[in-house]
Amino acid sequence: MGDTARVYTFVLIMTVVVALVLAGMTTVLKPIHKKNEAIFNKKAVLAAIQSKLGEDVKASDLPDDEVQGLFDNKITQYVVDYEGTPISQEEVEERGYKGGQAEHVDMKKEKKRPEAERFFPVYVYEDNGEKIYIITIRGSGLWDEIWGNIAIKDDFATVVGASFDHTGETAGLGAEIKDNPGFPRQFQGKSLYDSEGNYTSVVVRKGGARHPRYEVDGISGATVTCDGVSDMLYDGIKKYMPYFNSVKI
C-alpha cells in the first residue's frame, strides 16, 4: 500500500512540474510564434508577386520589418463572400478570426465549410497605379493538403505569379512545387482563358505544356501533386470569379 502511494505521489509531482514548465514556455513564446507565423504567411503572399519586387529580392529572404512595411504601405486586404461581396471586419472577427483581416482567415477551416458560407481572402497590391489581386487557394496533393497564392492582373485574365506550399509532399518530387523556384516562375504571364475566351485556368501538363498560353510543364515523378495543383487552380480561381466580376470596370 505504501508502495502504491509512493508511485502516485511521484507521478503526480512529475506531471505538475512538467505541465508548469511546458505551459510557462508556451505562454512566454506564444507572441513570438504568432509573429513568426504571420510573417511566414505574408512572405508566401509576397512570393506570388515576386516579379514585382525586383530581380535580386527574394520574398522568402526579406527581413521581417520590410515584409510588414510592404503590407502596410502597398497592400489592402479584403475578405469577400461566395458572391463576391466584401465582408466587414466585425463579421470576420465573429467567426473567430481575431484581427478580422484577410491574413487572419484560416483557409483550412474555411475549406471544411459549405461553399456558400466560405470566406475568401483577397490581397490587393497597388504600385504605380497598377493593381494586382492576390488570392489564396487550397487543394489536395498526393499525401496531404497543398495551397498557394495566385497573383492576377487587373484584367482578371493574366497571371502575374504564384507561390505554393504543402504539408507533406515527397521531397525532391511533389515538394518541388515549393522548393524549386522554377516551378512557380512558369506561371508568370499565363492566361486563365484559351484563345476563344473559355475559362481554362492554368493547367500543369504532364510531359510538358502543349498550349503555352495557359499550360505549364509538370514535374516528372510528381504527377499526382501536379494534377492536384491543376485542380486546385481550376476550382480555386473559379470561386473568386464573382468577386472579380464585381470589381471589373
Binding site: 508511485v7 513568426n36 507533406g168 521531397a171 525532391g172 522548393d179
Partner: protein, 237 residues
C-alpha cells in the same frame, strides 16, 4: 546506501579515460545506427536534405543528453513500476521544449521538419539509452553517454543526407544561405549537364535517392564499410 558511498569516491565531473570512452564508443564500436541498428526509422525519413538532418541531429543530441541526465538524477526515486512512463514523459517534455524553441527561433526550418521533431520521442536510441545506461549510472556519465550516442547517430544521419541530397537533388545545404548547387540541368549549377559540350550530358538526378528506400541502401553500405574497416565488429550480432 552502500552504493552511493562507493560512487562518491570518484569526483563528480571527472573526465578520464572511462569518460572519454563514453563519448567515443558510440561513434565507432557501438554506433547506434550501424552497430546497434537503432533509430533507423528517422534515419530513413529525414535524410533527403542536409539542413533538416543537421537540425534533427542537434535536437537528438540535446534530447539524448538531457533525458539521460534527468533520468539519472531521478534514478533512485523513480518507482520501478512506472519507470518507462517516467522516461517517456522526460523525453516528451524535452522534445516539446525543442519544438517550441525552434518555432520561435527559425520558423522556416520548423515548418520543414514539422512532424519529424515530434518523432524524436519515438526514437529508439533515446529510450534505449535511458533504460540501458541512465538508470544505472551517475548523472555526469549518463550525460556524456547521451552526447556520445546523439553524435554517433547524427554523424551517420548527416552522411546519409549528404549522399541523398547530392545525388537526388544535385545540391548541398538546400534551403540555407550557403546553398551549393552542384550538378543539374540549368546554368545555376556548377556542373551544367545541359551546357554545350558538357562531359556530364548523360547525367541526371537519381529520383530513387529522394525516396526512403535509398537511405536503406546507403545505411547498408555504411554498415558494410564500417565492418570491413573495424573487423572486431564482424562476429557480433
Amino acid at each position: 546506501m552502500a552504493e552511493t558511498a562507493i560512487e562518491k569516491k570518484e569526483p563528480t565531473f571527472a573526465f578520464g579515460k572511462k569518460e572519454r570512452k563514453l563519448l567515443t564508443d558510440p561513434l565507432n564500436d557501438n554506433n547506434p545506427i550501424t552497430v546497434q541498428v537503432l533509430g533507423i526509422c528517422s534515419a530513413l525519413a529525414v535524410t533527403t536534405l542536409l539542413v533538416p538532418s543537421i537540425v534533427i541531429s542537434i535536437a537528438v543530441v540535446f534530447v539524448c543528453a538531457f533525458s539521460n541526465l534527468f533520468t539519472s538524477l531521478l534514478r533512485k526515486s523513480i518507482p520501478k513500476q512506472v519507470r518507462m512512463i517516467v522516461q517517456l514523459v522526460i523525453v516528451a517534455t524535452l522534445v516539446t521544449v525543442v519544438e517550441l524553441t525552434l518555432k520561435a527561433v527559425d520558423y522556416d526550418i520548423y515548418k520543414q521538419l514539422s512532424i519529424f521533431i515530434g518523432l524524436i520521442i519515438t526514437n529508439c536510441i533515446v529510450m534505449g539509452r535511458l533504460e540501458a545506461f541512465a538508470m544505472a549510472n551517475t548523472p555526469w556519465k549518463s550525460f556524456l553517454d547521451g552526447v556520445g550516442n546523439g553524435v554517433g547517430y547524427g554523424v551517420i544521419l548527416i552522411a546519409v543526407a549528404f549522399f541523398r541530397e547530392l545525388f537526388g537533388k544535385g545540391s548541398l545545404f538546400a534551403g540555407s544561405p550557403i546553398e551549393m548547387k552542384i550538378i543539374g540541368a540549368t546554368p545555376e549549377y556548377w556542373i551544367n549537364t545541359m551546357a554545350d559540350g558538357s562531359w556530364f550530358s548523360w547525367y541526371s538526378n537519381n529520383n530513387l535517392m529522394v525516396l526512403p528506400a535509398a537511405a536503406m541502401f546507403l545505411i547498408a553500405i555504411m554498415i558494410w564499410v564500417h565492418r570491413s574497416w573495424n573487423t572486431k565488429l564482424v562476429d557480433i550480432s
